[in-house]
Amino acid sequence: MFEWMKIPYALLTLFIVVNYGLLMTALIAKIGARVGRRHGIPIYQNYIDLIKNYGLRSSITHGFMFYLGPVFRLTGGVGLILFVPIIYGSEVFSNFSFAGDLILALYFIFFGTLGMALGAGESGHPYAAIGISRGLSQVTMAELPLAMAVFAVALQYQTLSITDIVAAQQGGILNWTLFTNPFAVAAAMMSFLGSMMRPPFDVVLAPQEIPIGPPTEYHSSYLALMQTNRVIFPIAKIAIFMSLFFGGAASWPVFFLKVFLIYMVSVFVGVVFPRFRVEQSIRWFLIWAVPMGVLGLVWV
């Protein structure tokens, strides 16, 4: 029988994650700026942006899907958080993970992507189409090593339940998948780089050049919804990675730390490497990440 208490618990998780996400993304932006010898934004900047954007009113719409784009997007982010157990062993913070296992989480990642692409496409802006085409091409190829890594992990632990996978990694750092199946983790982390929209895989957003890509057409409250998603979604995704490969988190501090460190991987890579073109990144995934995934599968 469904316990109604799960709803406020889930909302509590959501609240914590949103705040953590706002602070952490600002921190990471600041770190990135410092590496580039710039001053960077204040740590509370995200709050200001978000409040401002939610406060703004837009009198523009491009149509039905334009509306739905951010909605899909944020539903994807929020849903993802809710479908994964965040804190291992905690009844309160296991959210709605009873609805589905790992496969649900993995496939639900696409929900937001689909909505985003649809919404931007509705705008009719040609650059949006270019951004979508690039983004979809890249993300589908980045998915491949992840899928193999996940499959390797599922085979290794003979389960698809995230909670069970975390449980199997308890009892010491050497029990983490990171050490029991390093190839799978390597493949997954390469995939992770590709999906974080950071260099060298950020041609989709191309922030330094002409402002192409889906976000161009969104502003005011549309943008606010997407910004909200942008702080939730990576954390939700990293939470999955953490649970599968890095032993999960039994408490919030561990959670905060692990998520931050995993996020930093993409930041480190991002500040060092220049940008790939799309076909280059596809080839990169094929040449480096996919063999890793194969090895990971064979390793099990």
Binding site: G100, L136, G293
Partner: protein
């Protein structure tokens, strides 16, 4: 009964009477001719009646009261009666058909016709070998006379070549006869057969000469250039007689004479026959002249019969059934086609498009074509089945391969021709200058041919040991639409829908769970798709018989219990769907490649069943499990190849994109959503019964796993590079079927469950997407996606259908596609093979790409100027889409309604690893999934956010389109600047190597080299009579050398 002699006497007497008549009494002479022919037919018919219904036994007639060798001996038995009736009836029909020509040429021509017919009767009836010679010479003389009937001056040359050949034949025959007589002391064939030891001791060469003379009369390849010239230039009515009656009589003569010989001779017949069959069919590929093509085809068919005659010992009691089936089918079909050719003014194949002016003629052509190829329900079909089974059980596999290969070549050119008829424009000259002379008299003759074709089909069905195809309820229902063709389409549509639903209602109680799923998709699903057909106007001639034939085949397939009924259903659905696909505007080449692949696959299935049967005429499908281990892998491979031609597994897929894309709007979902499932059903039957099979240590299901995975990946990859929306969907079907094959090949509980879920899902969303895209194409007039855009506001319902469809296909939660993926992941957890999974993993996201492109390019982006006033797709096309939308949503929440049953069905086969169904949660050994919770959670979040956003932006204004403009130069090719043209270009750069059309190149290369061989080899026929004579002598010498060399 009237004495047999009256057949000869009647013809001869009438011919003499004609000689006495005055030249001016042509009408009377014509009457005498027809009366004589009718009388002779009646005599033959009364004998046949006596043999069949009164149980009469055969009689021998001796002229002048002596015994052989002093008397001529005629025999009338069942085969003789059939053939004599055939010859005389053919003569009568030709007489009717030739009325104009005969009246013009006068009594002499009529007498020659009579003499020809009676000479043929003589060849059939006589048991005296010298008498045989006389009748053959008489035939040759009358043939040379009848060739002159033609208005074509070239016929003279052909006739002379024929005379040259017949001179040589008569020398061979005479020398052979005298030495045979010398050795045995008798001229009676049966007497010689009794003395055959003596003959064989001293007179091998004598018998060889006799046999060769008769065989050469059968126009063996390559010593047959003269016959082709006659076929090409003679009057078509005469060619009909020449092909149907002459060949039949000569074949019977060979059959008689072979009684004499011993061991090696039947092999010679088979050898010559099969070379002729394959060689002539091959050369026919490059023919453009209709009558010459028919000539090649005649020669080939006669070769086939000769092959079978040589296999008499193998066929045993089925000999007459098989040989008679092929021979009669050939005779009626070829005569019919020659008669039809008399109505067509021009001689190139494409000129036959004029037949479209009269649907009856198209039907007649289709009938004759099916009769010739041996499709059900015609006699050749039963004969082919018996023949292949008998040959395989004797281990004559090479012969089976050659026969089936030759038959496939025949399929190729005949169906190509049919495609011309349906699709080509009749040339201006033939349409305008000479209106086609569709004379009622000729139509009646052709009608008689059609009726006899179907009658033969019925008779052979009744004679066979199997159920008569023409008594199967679904087939009858489908054929009844032929009679209803005059009704308006909407009425026929209602009948069709009612028929499908009613058939489901009466039969679903007898279905098991697996059949129930397929049955529901085929019958109920078919009815839903047919709703879209209300959109069409007029009579829509040809659509309903074809569609219903396909559904009939499908409905029979899922209930088939033995190999024969399975194969019948398979061929019926193949043929029905071919006609259906051919209806598309530009589908001619694609329909052709469809039918060639499908029938090629069907032949593989036939060979597989024959191999499995091991001598039995048919086996229950369950008996596939008991195939001996040495044969099992071969049976598995053959059947799997056959079934995979339907699922369009990679390598055998090239027919699919064109066939599905070019089909009509409501046909695409039928052939994609429903027809492809036939292949899956076949694979299920195969795997359920045969299970895992080793082939030289290779696990065949493992190979299937790879094939499925490759199909999934490459199908999807090819789909993302398509600009044509329907082609995109078609390629996507290849990928989806790859998934399903993959699921089956895993051979575990969940893999099968996934495959079955795919069966349902794929039907729903592919039908829905094809209908949406079809409706859009109907409105926009194009299927190129880059010519569309921004249609979301104009066609919201189509948009919703596509949106729901692509969410479902891509497997994104919460729709039903996710369920499939979830089961899939659980299934592969227990599968043995891991490497093919990688391909499957990749193909999932790739599928997402092409789906997104579909919705994005059509509905989003900029509205095209010319589309500004478009309306929503037609009502009746939208209706089924909305039904599908509702179904998909429902199935997403309650997948258990269908899946639990299947799950239970699979338990006996795969006891382990089933699913647990507890409350709302479905769990496997590895994971769990709660569709309702997912739907509610996502729904709540979605609704909340949407409400909020709407609240925030409640007074937003819609931005007009031209607020955003393109900044680009005017392009040379407009599509290159469209944002969605070559949408996934980087993908192509990175992965394009995987979608190089290697497979297409392979098949193109294969057909190309066949055509080149044909083109090159036919230069052999220089047209010079002396060359032909040389061919003949060389042929005789070569066969003799082979014989002496002991190669046979």
């Amino acid at each position: 009964m009237v004495s047999t002699l009256f057949i000869i006497a009647g013809g001869l007497g009438a011919a003499f009477l004609l000689g006495l008549l005055r030249e001016e009494w042509r009408g009377f002479a014509y009457g005498v001719t027809l009366a004589a022919l009718a009388f002779m037919s009646w005599v033959a018919g009364s004998w046949l009646w006596a043999f069949v219904f009164d149980g009469a036994v055969g009689v021998d007639v001796f002229t002048a009261g002596h015994n052989p060798p002093f008397a001529i001996n005629l025999r009338m038995g069942l085969p003789e009666a059939v053939l004599v009736l055939l010859v005389n009836a053919m003569g009568l029909m030709v007489g009717v058909y030739l009325k104009g020509t005969l009246m013009r040429l006068g009594r002499r021509a009529m007498a020659v016709l009579l003499v020809a017919v009676l000479a043929l009767c003589g060849i059939i009836l006589t048991r005296d070998i010298f008498n045989l010679f006389v009748f053959i010479e008489l035939t040759a003389i009358s043939t040379a006379g009848l060739v002159l009937l033609s208005a074509d001056a070239r016929a003279l040359g052909a006739g002379f070549k024929y005379l040259v050949i017949s001179q040589i034949i008569s020398i061979l025959l005479l020398v052979g006869i005298i030495f045979a007589y010398h050795a045995t002391g008798t001229l009676n064939i049966d007497g010689m057969a009794e003395a055959s030891v003596a003959l064989m001791k001293g007179g091998t060469l004598a018998f060889f000469l006799i046999l060769m003379a008769l065989i050469v009369e059968l126009k063996p390849f390559p010593a047959n250039g003269w016959a082709l010239d006659i076929y090409e230039s003679a009057h078509p009515a005469f060619s009909a007689l020449f092909s149907a009656a002459f060949s039949a009589a000569m074949l019977f003569a060979v059959d008689k004479v072979l009684l004499i010989g011993g061991e090696p001779w039947p092999k010679i017949a088979t050898g010559v026959g099969i070379v002729t069959f394959v060689g002539s069919n091959l050369l026919a590929l490059s023919q453009t002249n209709d009558r010459r093509l028919l000539g090649y085809s005649s020669v080939a068919q006669v070769g086939l019969v000769l092959t079978v005659i040589g296999q008499r010992a193998v066929l045993g009691e089925h000999y007459l059934f098989v040989v008679g089936g092929i021979l009669l089918a050939h005779s009626v079909a070829k005569a019919g086609l020659f008669w039809v050719s008399g109505l067509v003014v021009e001689r190139q194949l494409s000129a036959w498009a004029v037949l479209r002016q009269n649907p009856f003629l198209v039907f007649a052509f289709a009938t004759f074509m099916a009769l010739l190829i041996g499709l059900p329900p015609f006699p050749g079909f039963y004969a082919k089945w018996e023949l292949v089974h008998a040959l395989v059980s004797e281990g004559r596999l090479a012969l089976v391969v050659f026969i089936l290969f030759g038959a496939l070549l025949e399929v190729g050119y005949l169906f190509r021709w049919f495609g011309y008829i349906i699709k080509r424009e009749a040339s201006v000259e033939s349409a305008m200058s000479k209106p086609v002379a569709f004379l009622p008299r000729k139509l009646v003759v052709i009608g008689v041919g059609v009726v006899s074709a179907w009658g033969l089909g019925y008779i052979w069905g009744a004679l066979s040991d199997f159920a008569n195809v023409l008594q199967a309820l679904p087939v009858l229902f489908a054929l009844s639409f032929l009679a209803l063709e005059g009704l308006p389409a909407k009425l026929k549509n209602t009948l069709a829908i009612v028929g499908l639903v009613a058939f489901f209602a009466i039969s679903y109680e007898n279905y098991n769970q697996l059949q129930l799923i397929f049955g529901a998709i085929i019958l109920i699903g078919g009815a839903v798709i047919l709703l879209a057909s209300y959109e069409t106007h007029g009579k829509r001639i040809g659509f309903y018989p074809s569609a219903m034939l396909m559904y009939a085949g499908l409905a029979m397939l899922i209930v088939a219990e033995d190999s024969f009924s399975f194969f019948v259903a398979w061929e019926i659905l193949t043929v029905g769907s071919y006609f259906l696909i051919l209806r598309g505007k530009f589908s001619e080449p694609h329909a052709l490649s469809y039918i060639i692949f499908s029938l090629g696959g069907a032949f593989a299935i036939l060979a597989g069943f024959a191999l499995a049967a091991g001598g039995a005429p048919r086996i229950p499908l369950e008996a596939l499990a008991q195939v001996p281990a040495t044969l099992a892998p071969w049976v598995f491979i053959l059947l799997a190849i056959g079934f995979m031609t339907k699922t369009a597994a990679i390598g055998l897929h090239i027919w699919l994109p064109g066939a599905h894309a070019e089909a009509e709007t409501d046909v695409s979902p039928m052939v994609s959503g429903i027809l492809l499932k036939a292949g899956l059903f076949g694979l299920m039957v195969l795997l359920l019964n045969m299970g895992k099979t080793q082939f030289y240590g290779v696990e065949l299901t493992y190979v299937l796993l790879w094939i499925g995975a490759l199909s999934a990946l490459l199908g999807n990859l090819m789909a993302i590079f398509q600009e044509d929306a329907k082609r995109l969907l078609a390629y996507s079907s290849i990928g989806q079927m790859g998934y399903a094959v993959f699921g089956l090949a895993m051979m575990n509980h969940l893999g099968w469950l996934m495959a079955l879920m795919f069966v349902i899902n794929h039907y729903v969303y592919k039908s829905m997407l094809f209908l949406s895209v079809g409706g859009i194409a109907k409105r926009t007039g194009t299927r190129d996606m880059y010519r569309m855009g921004g249609l979301i506001a104009l066609m919201p319902l189509s948009f919703i259908a596509v949106l729901i469809g692509i969410i479902a296909v891509s497997g994104v939660p919460p729709l039903s596609g996710f369920g499939g993926r979830w089961i899939f992941y659980n299934a592969i957890m227990t599968a043995d093979a891991r490497l093919p999974m990688i391909l499957i993993f990749l193909s999932g996201p790739v599928a997402f790409l092409y789906l997104f492109r579909l919705i994005h390019t059509i509905f989003l982006g900029q509205l095209k100027d010319e589309h500004r006033r478009l309306k929503e797709a037609p009502f009746w096309i939208v209706v089924p889409q909305m039904i599908y939308v509702v179904f998909l949503l429902g199935f997403a929440v309650f997948p258990g309604l269908a899946l639990r049953r299947v799950d239970a069905f699979l338990n006996p086969y795969f006891p382990n690893g089933g699913l647990n169904w507890e409350g709302l949660t479905i769990s496997s050994d590895f994971g769990y999934w709660s569709p309702v919770s997912i739907m509610i959670t996502i729904g709540v979040i979605f609704a909340t956010l949407l409400a909020w956003l709407v609240y925030l932006n409640h007074n937003a204004q819609k931005v007009k389109q031209f607020n955003i403009v393109f900044a680009a130069e005017r392009p040379y090719r407009p599509e290159t600047t469209h944002f969605a043209w070559n949408f996934f270009a980087p993908y192509r750069k990175a992965l394009g190597f995987m979608v190089q059309p290697f497979v297409t190149q392979f098949w193109d290369g294969l057909t190309g080299s066949l055509h080149h061989t044909a083109q090159f080899t036919r230069k052999l026929y220089t047209g010079n009579g002396q060359t032909y004579a040389f061919h003949l002598l060389a042929f005789v010498v070569v066969v003799y050398l082979i014989l002496v060399g002991g190669l046979v």
